[in-house]
Amino acid sequence: MPEPTSPSASSRPTVATAPASTTAPAVARTKTSPYPIEHFVADPDETPVRATDSVVSDVAPRSLWGEAWRSLRKQPLFLISSILILGVIFVALFPGIFTHEPPNENCLLANSDGGPTAGHPLGFTVQGCDILSRVVHGTRSSLTVGLFATLGVVLIGGLIGALAGFFGGWVDAILARVGDIFFALPLILGAIVVVQLPVFQQNRNVWTLVVILVAFGWPQIARITRAAVIEVRNADFVTAARSLGVSPLGALVKHVIPNALAPVIVIATISLGTFIVAESTLSFLGIGLPPDVMSWGNDIFSAKPSLRSNPMAIFWPGLALSITVLSFIMLGDALRDALDPKARKR
């Protein structure tokens, strides 16, 4: 509690008690109170009146991205997830640093489903391969699929969504219908149908998988982009740009897209996780990446029959997969908080 000084002493320097009814005779229609009303004036020095709308210039200029970055830096969710992601990327780039055991070449059936031993801290798979090595070497394919599938959907879905949102009318109507059709086929379902086709079974690799995931994954990004673009499209600053003589396409590229980017970035980050899950799910079903490509999903698929005897052969790749996906989803969540337009200073 601050000082308990009497309020009347400090802040009522000028009190003129005047019954309101006695003032100016020219008045009509102001109300008069039956009670006496004192005319109270606060000490002008106590609340000095600043120049109207004065410019405060003691802080460094800050762009929206700069502010988002400042709030991100303080978020534990962001710090944890970005450290994890950097770690995962590092493992994918340099698997040799984390294990000297070759993932495929040194598999002995004698070690099949064996527990941890010296030099093999996580034990062995059913084929007798070192689990640690398989998990470490499986990182790259998962990450590659996730990264390129995300790039693909952002480019295709983003472009379609931006065009539909900005131009509206029949472009929007057609693109929306096409999106609806793809929406009726969930990502995994669509991918399963295509993946089993002979033409893909004969060319199973990381890139065909990316193509399939992009083909069924773009509508979501397109919807998000479209909604974001529509929200910005009608902003006064876009109208202002148009009345400066900026062309529609120019306004889209210079003003609309930069302002519609935030939700797309958030969804793209989360999608990266989703695509990694999709890849491993297909591999787990035995129709994703071919068996000779090392991937967490493939390892879980092959460890499936011996779940009761050697659950750890499923647990470790599952853990690696979960942590990777979790870090992308956490990053997306942190980005959403930082880029949320509602939280922005108005």
């Binding site: 059709i181 009726a184 086929l185 969930p186 089993q196 491993s280 799910t281 779940l307």
Partner: protein
């Protein structure tokens, strides 16, 4: 209102046609012999292949094929699969199990998702809220098959509370664990959606006005905050019913449930094109119907739509 429903229904027709056309095209028109699987490694005589092609209309131009197929869908005559069994019969056999599983999952995710989301939203920033948020992220991140194996191993094998796999009867208790696994990811989404929606509505002007009217806190929360927050949640749940059917592929595989998902999976592995197309068509139909249901629910929940 009537116009709204009719419009939504009409909008679904091109979606259904487009999606089935897409699937039919992918399965039967991409390079590769659709009948290869039936003959296996040994190969068939040209006469047998020709017979098969005729049976599945593969000798017709693509458009005719598709139209004949659509005619089959409308008359419930889906033909036979590569093993010669009527596809409609197979679907009728396995659908009830999957429907039971999906509805159980839906109830679980709705009840727990809304309850947890409501509490978290009302206590934004408190311990319960933050822990539930982190937990929901983990549930979303851990792939369903990892989660499935983990729960199967812990609850079915280690603790032996329930059978690790589901028998042909697919009783309620047997399906409980698969339903939890199937509904878990959506549960996390329902929770987060409810929470966001609650937080948004708690700060809405009309909630403050309701408080100023002298209503009790409980009434304000239930009648004004929760009621309005349910609109997006119910929408999500409706759309999720369709997604759960598709998601059952993995869950049914893990727990060996003899449902639509497992049947589709087997058809995929066998390269049984007609079976795959029929089941996917069936799932698209369910998806479209679920969406129609959502539109109806939406109109029922939000008078602004109803009178639009």
């Amino acid at each position: 209102m009537a116009w709204y429903i009719v419009r939504r229904f009409l909008q679904l027709i091109p979606v259904f046609l487009g999606a089935t056309l897409l699937v039919y095209f992918l399965v039967f028109s991409l390079p590769g012999d659709a009948t290869a699987a039936i003959c296996g490694e040994r190969g068939c005589t040209p006469a047998v292949i020709a017979g098969l092609r005729e049976q599945y209309n593969l000798d017709q131009p693509f458009w005719i094929q598709y139209l004949l197929y659509l005619k089959g869908v409308v008359t419930f005559d889906l033909g036979t699969n590569f093993s010669g069994r009527p596809i409609a019969t197979i679907i009728a056999e396995v659908f009830p199990t999957t429907a039971k599983l999906a509805i159980m999952a839906l109830v679980i995710e709705a009840v727990f998702g809304i309850a947890f989301g409501l509490i978290a939203g009302l206590r934004k920033g408190k311990l319960f809220d933050s822990s539930v948020l982190v937990l929901s992220l983990i549930v979303i991140a851990v792939p369903i098959f990892v989660l499935g194996f983990l729960m199967q191993f812990l609850i079915g094998v280690k603790l032996q509370w329930t059978n690790p796999t589901v028998s042909g009867d697919a009783t309620f208790t047997e399906l409980l664990l698969p339903a939890v696994v199937l509904g878990l990811v959506s549960f996390a989404y329902v929770l987060r959606l409810t929470r966001t929606s609650i937080i948004e509505n708690v700060n809405a002007d009309y909630v403050r006005t309701a408080t100023a009217k002298g209503l009790s806190r409980k009434r304000v929360v239930v009648v004004h905050v929760l009621r309005n927050s349910l609109i997006p949640v119910v929408t999500f749940l409706g759309a999720d019913l369709g997604a759960l059917m598709g998601g059952a592929i993995v869950t049914e595989g893990i727990f060996n449930v003899n449902g639509v998902g497992n049947t589709l999976y087997r058809a995929v592995l066998n390269g049984d094109g007609p079976m795959v197309v029929s089941i996917v068509t069936f799932l698209i139909l369910i998806f479209c119907l679920a969406n129609l249901l959502v539109d109806l629910l939406y109109a029922w929940l939000d008078p602004r739509i109803r009178y639009a």
